[in-house]
Amino acid sequence: MASMYDTLVNLLVDRFEVDRAEIRPGITFEDLEMDSLFVVELLVVVQTELKVKIDEDSASPRDTIERAAEMIEAQIAAASSAP
């Protein structure tokens, strides 16, 4: 199974026209020219495709791709351990 980081990279490439060569774990959305509206849209796509709801206040264009992947993983873990 692909890691959440790889999944996120694929979403950015396929859905947000980001150049795959530009993406690395430490790069921020801002560096990829993704502003706050793009980040909110990314959360919509994540919710639709990955069935994970991330609150829009918890993500920002200054987040790195790695941190966003960790946040999604943590949310999945929290949801699966919920009663």
Binding site: F16, E41, T48
Partner: protein, 407 residues
């Protein structure tokens, strides 16, 4: 109010006849209809349209365009870039505060609206794009041009349905005459070929039902016309005061010499059969331009190919201008692009003046005997044009008439 002369110094055109002024104009002058069966409309009561061929948002606009722009914005950005380049202007060096943007648009991002509505019904509200609103609001087309060209002067959209593009140009001219702006990017953009919108027009009975022979469906002023064919596109003009344009050595393609705007105040969609307000708009525009009816050599008509419009328009043109002007409707070739139509037609009128060439109206096999205009058909007509009229009428009864003159 200043009476400063306003010049057209740049043009951009994206239509069913092609991407770019040269391609579009060549096809329009050939007089061959671009209407086709449209696979995107398959199964609907009317499935023919005039869409822009070979338009690639990624190539013509930018890598992320499809993510953030509805098609009406994409078509308009492409036309505006061509217009600014052809005017010989460099937005990196102009004073953006003196540059205005006035764009006509009747509908806005209707394809985005439909797509997202379907998504909400099928997958729930959480699946609706966060970019829905910025993609659908009609004023965003002017907003994007402001961002694209660093134009920070007055920036807005005019909505007078199928007259929107002409209304925008007339309004933009006033910003220059009032010295609010030194440069205005104006015109119109529309992309209304979506299943819901096409069906809406079909339900009104406004569209041609020649589904089996789409290339003959749009036939303005022909005796067998039965409705319009929906199109899409954008026409953009760069306008400046003539003195400024001359001072910087710019090409002056034509002057926007007159403008008349009126309302029928009669019916939601049907033209006033008496045509009082259309006549008044024509006379106002001529008076504004300081020319008489006999001076008009060419009319780029609204000519939608609907029975009602063409009859009412022809009666008004005959009454005010007489039988003299060479009349054409480019909608025979490119269909009716709604809010963009008046702007596309203004661009064509400028080109007709530039080239001394009136394009033929496609599909006029037998001119309606009730219409006594000199409708140019089959072949383009070469003639010197000093004064031309481009008239546009919108649902809602809004009429906008431009008088364009040779520089």
């Amino acid at each position: 109010m200043s009476t400063a002369s306003v010049a057209v110094t740049g043009l951009g055109l994206v239509s069913a006849a092609g991407v770019g002024v040269d391609d579009s104009w060549r096809t329009i002058c050939a007089g061959v209809s671009m209407a086709r069966r449209d696979p995107a409309l398959a199964g609907l009561p009317v499935d023919i349209s005039c869409t822009v061929p070979g338009f690639s948002p990624a190539t013509h606009v930018g890598r992320r365009s499809s993510l953030i722009h509805d098609r009406f914005v994409q078509l308009t950005i492409a036309a505006a870039r061509e217009a600014v380049t052809s005017a010989g202007l460099d937005p990196r060096t102009w004073d953006g505060a003196r540059v205005g943007v006035v764009i006509g648009c009747g509908l806005g991002g209707v394809s985005t609206w439909e797509r997202q509505h379907r998504r909400m019904l099928e997958s729930g509200p959480e699946s609706v794009s966060a970019l829905l609103i910025p993609m659908l609001v009609p004023n965003m087309v002017a907003g994007h041009l402001g961002m694209e060209f660093h134009a920070t002067g007055p920036n807005f959209v005019t909505a007078t349905a199928c007259a929107s593009g002409a209304t925008a140009i007339g309004t933009a001219r006033q910003l220059l005459r009032d010295d609010v702006c030194d440069i205005v990017l104006t015109g119109g953009g529309e992309a209304g070929v979506s299943p819901l919108i096409v069906t809406g027009f079909a339900q009104m009975g406004a569209l041609s039902k020649r589904l089996d022979e789409p290339a003959t469906a749009s036939r303005p002023f022909d005796v067998d016309r039965d409705g319009f064919v929906i199109g899409e596109g954008s026409g953009i003009l760069v306008m400046e005061r003539e003195t400024d344009a001359r001072a910087r050595g710019a090409q002056v393609l034509a002057l926007v010499a007159g403008y008349g705007a009126t309302a029928d105040a009669h019916h939601m969609t049907a033209p006033d059969p008496a045509g009082v307000s259309v006549r008044h708009a024509l006379r106002t525009a001529l008076a504004d331009a300081g020319v008489g009816p006999g001076d008009v050599g060419h009319v780029n008509a609204h000519g939608t190919s609907t029975p009602l419009n063409d009859a009412a328009e022809a009666a008004a043109l005959q009454d005010v201008l007489g039988p003299g002007p060479a009349v054409t409707s480019v909608k025979g070739v490119v269909g009716h692009s709604l809010g963009a139509a008046g702007a596309i037609e203004a661009v064509c009128t400028v080109l007709a003046i530039r080239d001394g060439l009136v394009p033929p109206t496609a599909n006029v096999t037998v001119q309606d005997p009730e219409i006594e205009l000199d409708v140019v058909a089959e072949e383009p007509r070469h003639q010197r044009i000093d004064v031309a009229v481009s008239d546009s009428f919108g649902f809602g009864g809004q009429n906008a008439v431009l008088v364009l003159t040779a520089p």
